[in-house]
């Protein structure tokens, strides 16, 4: 069966299913970002604060993604860690115009990286420095340094600035995540 499965995958007939978790502080644009990845006819215009979580499905580079869009409100943040074990990749969305709370984002990232289900795994993390269109927003380099991303060890990560409303930078990021997940899955197979 396993042989048949891999054969079908190789042919590209059946897509590999992966789980990703989308996290970040409230009002950072997680739901808006996933809304952009929907087919055009399914997109909505009014995004409301997420309660609990939502799931979205999309495809990229031969992978079928199930994205868990977690609520970023502080009271729902403890939910995030329940999904760490089964996830193949992490999308961390940062509101790059919310300078006061960049330290809060950093703290949440620190909690994530030191969590027992994440700490030892090589799990790709994609950072979106969202809301790049706003006037006083930080650049991706600025966000990266304020989150001290260069201190991340044993994980592949990528940061790209994005505008979830227009979709700028989103596709590029998701493509990186797809190839990173593929690479990490192959590494795990070996």
């Amino acid at each position: 069966m396993g042989l048949l499965d891999s054969f079908i995958c190789w042919l590209g007939l059946k897509r590999k299913e992966v789980n990703v978790i989308v996290i970040g502080l409230d009002n950072s644009g997680k739901s808006t970002l996933l809304n952009y990845l929907r087919p055009v006819e399914a997109q909505t215009h009014d995004i409301v604060p997420t309660v609990g979580f939502n799931t979205e499905n999309f495809r990229c580079k031969g992978l079928s993604f199930s994205a868990f869009d977690m609520s970023g409100q502080s009271r729902y943040r403890p939910l995030w860690e329940n999904y760490y074990r089964k996830t193949h990749g992490i999308i961390f969305v940062v509101d790059s115009s919310d300078r006061p709370r960049i330290v809060v984002a950093k703290d949440e990232l620190y909690q994530l990286l030191t969590h027992q289900d994440i700490r030892t795994r090589n799990i790709p993390i994609l950072f979106f420095a969202n809301k790049m269109d706003l006037r006083d927003s930080l650049s991706d380099v600025g966000v990266s340094s304020s989150l001290s991303l260069d201190e991340i060890e044993n994980k592949s990560w990528h940061i790209c600035s994005s505008n979830a409303l227009t979709g700028d930078g989103v596709q590029e990021g998701i493509e990186w995540l797809s190839s990173a997940i593929k690479a990490s899955l192959e590494q795990a197979k070996r």
Partner: protein, 509 residues
């Protein structure tokens, strides 16, 4: 000897780091500070020591001024009050930058944001209390000015000024009547009369009356503090009333829709801070330094309530009930602070320092405060029940006996004590009389033996030497008894026993 000495010093040096030496302590403290920093319950969001803000806690307010879900910091910046011209500004911070500012005419004593209507979106108005008026701003534009009601003026005072208005000015008579009124202390005088009484010369007084006789006589109090009180519901965006405390010891509750006074209360003295409830002291702490600011910490998501106390030694102590749960180190003395929702974050502590700096700290989501504090307040063990062993028969008998024979027991104890004292005194006298102590005191002179081997050093004024010869060839040591006597008596003045060193054996070469 020298070797020994060196060894001694070297051993001292090696033992030094173990000792709690004063030079070592600061190092320890420093390392402690850095280690607690990473474990701190607070995230340091912003540090700007040159923000140049000068304000007090009551002039800081957190409110969503534009109704966009992001809470702004509003504060009345006193500017540099040493400058001759006041530059008071109302500043609104969006994030850490001033989004808007407007000038105020006078020094405010309180800034309060409150909802005055039921319109959507919920945009609060800003009430700024200064002098004898409350200025209300909506969207930072002046909207209404509420003035405190006029106070009662004494009839005689009115008459005096009415006469002056008619042109019938007799400065000396006016001075006499007003002084009398001022001393009788029934109704306080108006500021105009008080100013008049302060003038020294007759000409000045005449000029003053001429200049001000036509202005209306009024007496108004000034506001000392202001807070808000929700009118009907406890919601954060519910309609609220303003509660105003004034210099003439009154508290007004002002309805904010039409600005009418709903209730007036009289206090025994001018209120300085509102929000005080109770009077009974529950507990008391002695703090290591003077208190510079205080604020309530009410962290709703975790139902955590504490009091933050800023101290003169650059620390902020957090007290939950009576327990010190956290200490925050700051780089400057905090003069004003406020805790609440700022921007989109619930637990934000905003501090203004003595030198005008702005510091913002955010409470970590994972922060926990435990009241496991032993140093402050009574220890927890105090509330624990002690496991008292059962009363034995012996114990009961003993207590009974103590109860019945208390008087006799006390008497016996006293007798024994007196006897002991007497015996000790008698022995002491005996030893002095027989000169057995190394210190002798007669009426005329004091002699002290300070013997050193092999020389006998004696007294302070005169000394004499004597030779001690070794009379044995055995390796033994013995004592030499020295008795100092007077020529005319044979009882020794004092005596001393000197231990001699071990005699050296005779060496046959």
């Amino acid at each position: 000897m020298r070797l020994n000495k060196e060894r001694g010093t070297s051993s001292k040096q090696s033992s030094q780091p173990d000792q709690p030496n004063s030079s070592v302590q600061p190092e320890n403290a420093e390392t402690k500070a850095t280690t607690t920093d990473s474990k701190s319950q607070w995230l340091s969001a912003h540090n700007d020591f040159v923000a140049g803000l000068n304000t007090v806690s009551s002039c800081m307010e957190l409110s969503d001024l534009w109704g966009d879900g992001s809470i702004n910091l509003i504060l009345a910046d006193y500017g540099n009050i040493l400058l001759p011209k006041l530059q008071v500004k109302l500043k609104v911070f969006k994030g850490f930058t001033v989004a808007k500012e407007s000038n105020l005419t006078d020094l405010p004593c309180a800034v309060v944001a409150c909802f005055m209507d039921n319109l959507q979106p919920r945009v609060p108005a800003l009430a700024v209390a200064s002098g004898s008026a409350v200025f209300v701003f909506k969207s930072l534009r002046p909207y209404y000015k509420f003035t405190l009601p006029q106070l009662e003026i004494h009839e005689v005072e009115k008459e005096v000024w009415a006469k002056a208005k008619e042109g019938n000015i007799d400065v000396r008579a006016m001075n006499g009547v007003l002084n009398e009124l001022n001393r009788s202390n029934t109704v306080p005088l108006t500021y105009k009369s008080l100013m008049f009484l302060r003038l020294a010369s007759r000409d000045e007084a005449l000029q003053f009356v001429e200049a001000f006789k036509n202005t209306e006589l009024k007496r108004q109090s000034s506001i000392t503090c202001m807070k808000k009180l929700n009118k009907t519901s406890a919601d954060e965006d519910a309609l609220s009333c303003l509660v105003v405390g004034t210099e003439d010891a009154k508290i007004y509750i002002i309805e904010s829709e039409a600005f009418t006074i709903l209730a007036t209360m009289k206090c025994p003295s001018p209120p300085a801070y509102l929000n005080v409830s109770g009077g009974k002291r529950y507990w008391k702490h002695s703090l290591p330094s003077i208190i510079t600011a205080m604020c309530l910490i009410d962290y709703r998501p975790k139902a955590f309530q504490a009091v933050a106390v800023a101290l003169g030694n650059n620390e902020i102590h957090l007290y939950k009930d009576k327990f010190l749960v956290d200490v925050i180190q700051v780089d400057d003395v905090v003069h004003a602070m406020r805790f609440g929702r700022f921007g989109r974050e619930d637990g934000t502590l905003i501090m203004i320092t003595k030198n005008g700096g702005l510091i913002v700290k955010i409470l970590k989501r994972t922060a926990t405060f435990e009241d496991t504090d032993v140093l402050h307040g009574p220890p927890k063990e105090q509330n624990m029940k002690i496991d008292v062993p059962k009363r034995t028969k012996l114990y009961v008998d003993q207590t009974l006996r103590e109860k019945e024979l208390a008087e006799t027991m006390y008497r016996v104890f006293q007798q024994d004590l007196i006897r002991l004292k007497f015996l000790a005194g008698k022995e002491f006298l005996k030893s002095i009389q027989s000169g057995l102590t190394p210190v002798a005191k007669t009426k005329t002179e004091t002699i002290r033996i300070n013997a050193e081997i092999p020389i006998l050093v004696n007294g302070m004024e005169y000394g004499f030497c004597t030779f001690v010869s070794c009379i044995t060839d055995k390796v033994i040591s013995d004592t030499v008894k020295v008795l100092v006597c007077r020529r005319d008596t044979n009882t020794p003045l004092l005596s001393a026993v000197i231990n001699m060193p071990v005699a050296e054996p005779i060496l046959n070469v």
